[in-house]
């Protein structure tokens, strides 16, 4: 395999792995801070027990998120040196700002939080966790500003084959990044809420610490419903942006081969990329694709066949990751709604079938998050910077396929161990309800 192919596999592997830990950090830091604030306000011990229980799980997850994050910063220089040279002037800035403005704050205060129990007042201790929560969101913002520039480059000029920043405002106010923050942020809250509900459900099924886990379940249900409803809005806004900024990605994720005016949305569709057509197109909603993409029932949606073949993203993976993600999004609303209704009516104890579903449902938002990133990154292909630089021209020239094979195998082994240890500890600690 080529250096490029191996480097792409490696980047996908380390990014997907890292993002298993990011959303729970983003959402859970705020949820833990919320629970601890309730404790500081009310003095009710149950909130203290909840804070301690959920923060233990949060911290295990946080540790793996931190150590796998460095890999990504190193990857650009190690495997994507030509990319780094091309965009360093622009892309490096938000990465460096992320470390300076956000990650320092997050890392320093998480250490402080762990070590300052009973050494500062309840309110101050809760406030420290809020700093962690805000810092992790800030961190996400700057990373998404960097990624947003790859998706929708702006505020630059090309000088001697390199992109140079001329307008920081354009980088900072890149609408793509802000919508992505909204999308990823609501997704992170949904995932964290399902995490809380799923684990609480196990304890409720076993009738342990019922009061505490009923409360946890309710918090999860309320946050989960709010966040999953907002995801629908965020997803819609994301879709419009893709239509506006990345027409090739739109065509690939909808498997739209031909250019159509007043395009319908097929509820049932089966792409056949080899034949450059769809095997099945059924149950159309008239004009829906045009409306969703351009808010105009008669808008024209450009098809893949009208783009040069060397500018088309992989269709099957874009299409399926999009479809499954969207379906899951609606499922989250349904599950969170049921959860909240049962919780408010206090009928959870009689709805054992539902409590049985929720632990398994934990995996679904993880899947949806990863599919979202797969769509975002693979749908951008063959470009690494949309419309400007191709992925094949971005790879390091001084490394060999052997080097990358060594590192890839190393990552798979190391990350495999990390995943096993992390899962083992999470299960242990999820069971551990006493101090």
């Amino acid at each position: 395999m080529s250096v490029e192919a191996l480097s792409r596999i490696q980047f996908a592997a380390v990014a997907i792995f890292h993002f298993l830990f990011v959303p729970l950090t983003l959402g859970m830091s705020a949820l833990v801070a919320f629970m601890e604030t309730r404790y500081a306000r009310t003095g009710d011990e149950i909130y203290l027990r909840m804070t301690k229980y959920w923060s233990r799980l949060f911290l295990i997850n946080f540790a793996v998120g931190v150590v796998t994050g460095i890999t990504l910063e190193f990857q650009f220089g190690m495997n994507w040196a030509e990319y780094s040279k091309f965009v360093g002037d622009i892309f490096g800035a938000p990465l460096a700002i992320e470390a300076t403005v956000a990650f320092f704050l997050e890392s320093t205060f998480i250490g402080l939080w762990m070590f300052s129990w009973n050494r500062v007042s309840k309110g101050v201790h809760a406030a420290i966790m809020w700093v962690v929560a805000v810092a992790s969101t800030l961190s996400a913002l700057w990373i998404l500003l960097a990624n947003g520039w790859m998706q929708k480059p702006r505020g630059f000029v090309l000088v001697g084959g390199r992109a140079q920043l001329v307008d920081f405002g354009a980088l900072l106010w890149n609408p793509y990044a802000w919508i992505k923050l909204f999308h990823a942020g609501t997704a992170a809250f949904t995932l964290s809420a399902f995490f809380m509900m799923g684990i609480s459900a196990i304890h409720l099924l076993r009738g342990r610490h019922v009061e505490m886990f009923k409360k946890s379940f309710r918090i999860g249900a309320a946050f989960g419903l709010a966040a999953s409803l907002l995801i629908i809005v965020a997803g819609d806004l994301s879709g419009r942006q893709v239509a506006e900024y990345q027409p090739t990605k739109l065509a690939a994720m909808e498997s739209q081969w031909t250019t159509v005016k007043a395009a319908p949305f097929y509820l049932l569709e089966l792409p056949e990329p080899k034949a450059e057509r769809n095997l099945v197109e059924a149950l159309p909603i008239p004009n829906m694709l045009s409306i969703l993409s351009y808010q105009d029932p008669n808008a024209t949606v450009k098809g893949l066949l009208d783009f040069p073949a060397d500018q088309r993203p992989p269709v099957a993976v874009s299409f399926w990751s999009f479809r499954i993600m969207v379906a899951l999004g609606f499922l989250f609303v349904l599950l969170a709604l049921l959860a909240l209704v049962f919780s408010l009516r206090d009928t959870l104890a009689t709805k054992r079938w539902f409590l049985w579903i929720m632990p398994f449902a934990i995996i679904l938002p993880y899947l949806a998050c990863e599919l979202g990133w797969i769509l975002a990154e693979l749908g951008r292909q063959p470009w690494i910077v949309y419309g400007l630089l191709r992925t094949k021209d971005a790879v390091s020239r001084s490394i060999t396929a052997g080097d990358v094979l060594i590192s890839l195998v190393g990552f798979v082994l190391l990350y495999g161990c990390l995943a096993a240890v992390d899962a083992f500890l999470l299960v242990k600690y999820a069971r551990k309800t006493e101090e």
Partner: protein
């Protein structure tokens, strides 16, 4: 021009602060297993670095990010030329981080022993490879006009290995002094005795390094052209020497501070020698990556200078306050 020089300085500062801070994590991580005689003491030594290692490591991430933003060509070259060393640094840092965080999560002796050794080994390999990398950068990497001519095993040359030993020796002493400062009781006594021995090692290796540098690298060129700069290595040695009397008088914080100064000044010595090169070429000086030919445009440099001017002092202030908050001596039973 001024901006590029400013960023060269900042680049050096970020690396120096990183080594000054994470250096004691590495040192304490390497020494823990050998100094601690009981489970209590192993916990104590872990609590000395547990709450701060992560904040310290962010200086490396910032140094990496700043290299990317200010000197993208250097970032791209440094990380891709030194691909396998970078990988080893990464793996070491990953193992180091999870060892600290996971070790106390379970009670079992086997579990804890595995993480104790993982921490010790990774705290050793990280500075080893960092030192190896920097030692080779000080000598110059084989960069030709049309690409890189180096390989992994050629990094293991005498001077590269000596620099690795220097990093390890400085960090061992640094970590021992940190443990002395942070702990008390028999454990602290043992750390104190060991720190006295490590001082001789650190001083000896540092002297050998400064001499070898004259033969293996061109770093002294800048000093010979502007002899006033010799003040930097002289102060580095003076700081290292000062550790001894401070340590002997049980001025734990003072001795640690002197060790901080020594590490910062050793890095400063190397950077004064390198200037304006970030990565000199050992083949063709016109292929060297310098602050002037590998930097971002003036717009980005100015923007990042403003960001750094505002936020780096803020970071220093709150990290300092957190360290102050955590300053009370760790006693038996302290857990991370």
């Amino acid at each position: 021009m001024t901006l590029q020089i400013l960023w060269f300085v900042l680049w050096g500062v970020l690396w120096a602060v990183y080594f000054m801070l994470d250096g004691f994590d590495f040192g304490a991580g390497m020494l823990r297993n050998f100094l601690a005689r009981s489970e209590d003491e192993r916990g104590l030594a872990l609590a000395a670095i547990g709450p701060v290692w992560n904040g310290n490591e962010v200086w490396l991430i910032t140094a990496g990010g700043a290299t990317f933003a200010a000197f993208p060509l250097t970032y791209a070259s440094m990380f891709s030329f030194l691909y396998l060393p970078m990988l080893l640094i990464l793996f070491s840092l990953i193992v180091r981080g999870v060892s600290i965080e996971f070790r106390n999560k379970l009670e079992g002796a086997r579990w804890r022993s595995v993480w104790d050794w993982a921490l010790a080994v990774s705290s050793f390999t990280a500075p080893l490879v960092l030192g190896l990398g920097f030692g080779n950068i000080f000598q110059g990497l084989p960069i030709a006009k049309d690409g890189y001519r180096g390989g992994f095993f050629m990094l293991f040359n005498g001077y590269g290995l000596l620099t690795a030993v220097l990093f390890i020796a400085l960090f061992l002493q640094h970590g021992a002094l940190w443990l002395v400062y942070r702990t008390e009781g028999p454990f602290a006594d043992r750390a104190r005795a060991l720190a006295s021995v490590l001082w001789f090692v650190a001083l000896g290796v540092a002297a050998a390094f400064l001499v070898a540098t004259a033969f293996a690298t061109g770093l002294y060129g800048n000093f010979l052209a502007r002899p006033l700069w010799f003040a930097v290595p002289v102060l580095a040695v003076a700081s290292l020497v000062a550790v001894r009397p401070l340590h002997a008088r049980s001025r734990a914080l003072g001795a640690f501070a002197a060790s901080c100064a020594a590490i910062v000044l050793v890095i400063a010595t190397a950077l004064v020698g390198l200037f304006p090169d970030l990565i000199p070429s050992s083949l063709d000086s016109s292929a060297s990556l310098t602050a002037f030919n590998s930097s971002s445009g003036p717009y980005t440099l100015r923007l990042m200078a403003i960001v750094a001017a505002i936020f780096v002092p803020i970071v220093i202030v709150y990290q300092f306050l957190v360290y102050r908050f955590l300053r009370s001596k760790l006693t038996k039973g302290a857990e991370y």
